[in-house]
Amino acid sequence: MPGAERRPARRRRKDMLGLRGVTREEITQILETAARIRAVNRRKVKKVPTLRGRTVVSAFFENSTRTRMSFDLAAKRLSADVLGFSASSSSTRKGETLMDTARNIDAWRPDALIIRHPCAGAPHMLAKAFPWSVINAGDGIHEHPTQALLDMLTMRDHLGELDGKRVAIVGDVLHSRVARSNIFGLRTMGAQVVVAGPGTMCPRKLESLGVEVRHRIDEVVEDVDVIMMLRIQRERLGRAMMTGVAEYAGLYGLDTDRLARARPDVLVMHPGPINRGVEMTPDVADGDRSVVLEQVSNGLAVRMALLYLLLGEESGDARNG
């Protein structure tokens, strides 16, 4: 109706620590905001003044160039000041605890902290103790909410509403924060999730998370709308977790033959970086069903949206011009 005012969703959240417990309404608001805000990334001047004067600190205690750059760029495109902090150059080597490091950061009065840490619950500990917003960029094997959000945005772009859609996640689901956040988020949005992997990585007890469990990729490839492949890094697995790379690719790898049996409009996704030849053959990774590069650009948009929603000024009635 022309001239009618929109009723936006309420947002009182201080942190984004994980998708578990985040409502459908909130996820929808983040995805819709991200879908709009990505227009900024296509303009000539890829910057808006929304978070001018705000300070965003990014603290990465685990290596990651891409996610870190994505968050840094997101903050910069919203005109915030960004301070980067990586474990290798920090005093954590000298034995400073996380809380001590956080207290030092607090002395600079940041508006938000983006943290990636090898321990589950680390962002939660800081969110409880400090007044600034905490965004979880990955805590141990627990959650990686912005990854799941960008995955869901990508799915939504192609599939529309996620209700009733079927998503397969293949790989080391047990130890994957990407998988866990996706499972929480997708189920909240009404999608069905089926996971597949070796018995060591995809144990039956995962059913308690509300997913179906299978042990061969062939059992999931045919009737799903999305196939999400997880990265396998043999050196980072514990002892006796898998057999050989050849057997893994044989049972769980996505190649053109298997893809041919999937739905013609199936989406192939991967959080990156891809081990070509292990999770996917190069043909599939670079093929026309793969939306991996969209995931990356959606990641920037989702992170901008989240920073905007958590830190932006509360605005009142849109008609006060």
């Binding site: 001239g3 009618a4 905001t33 709009r36 509360e314 605005s315 011009g321």
Partner: protein
């Protein structure tokens, strides 16, 4: 936000008056700016976007040639610190023309403090350097906080600072002013 229990809702303009004023504004735009293909109308989301569309249609009826219409959503450029509880969803900024060198008529339904217009100007500048920008509004309700004036005004309405002004287009439309019981 409409509170049905507050002190008063007065009618600023009837639906008919709104439609006639839009017609008059359209003719004024063409009279002063000339050929409709030489300028574009950019509506400020949301009320201004509807008005821009209606003005373009009206110009089209008279001149048999519509100016290009675009929209600009200023949510990411706001500077105001209202203590409302809800965060607006982002609207669409669509500028289907080359901003650099363009003659732009910025359109909004209500001109109040001027901050929306300031934000719209800043945003347009991030797309390019227009040749000129003029401002057309349906209602000027006063209480300016910035040195901004409209070039094309439909109607001036006297309001209190705390009033809320609602504009609706169409046959059941009109301009309504809601006053709070204890005006500050």
């Amino acid at each position: 936000m409409v509170d049905d229990n507050n002190a008063g809702r007065t009618l600023g303009m009837t639906a008919g008056e709104v439609q006639r004023t839009i017609r008059r504004l359209a003719i004024e735009l063409v009279e002063r700016l000339g050929d409709p293909s030489s300028f574009v109308l950019v509506g400020v989301v949301t009320g201004g976007a509807s008005l821009a569309r209606l003005l373009a249609d009206e110009i089209g009826r008279v001149e048999h040639c519509c100016p290009t219409v675009g929209s600009v959503d200023i949510t990411l450029y706001r500077d105001d610190l209202y203590t409302g509880l809800e965060k607006p969803v982002l609207g669409d900024t669509e500028l289907p023309f080359e901003v650099g060198g363009a003659g732009i008529v910025l359109v909004d339904d209500v001109l109040f403090t001027g901050r929306t217009v300031r934000a719209a100007l800043e945003e347009l500048w991030d797309y390019g350097r227009p040749a000129w920008i003029k401002l057309a509004v349906l209602v000027d309700r006063g209480h300016r906080e910035l040195p901004i004036a409209a070039d094309f005004v439909g109607r001036c309405l006297a309001t209190d600072r705390s009033d809320r002004v609602h504009v609706h287009f169409g046959d059941n439309g009109g301009v309504h002013i809601d006053s709070t019981a204890e005006a500050g």
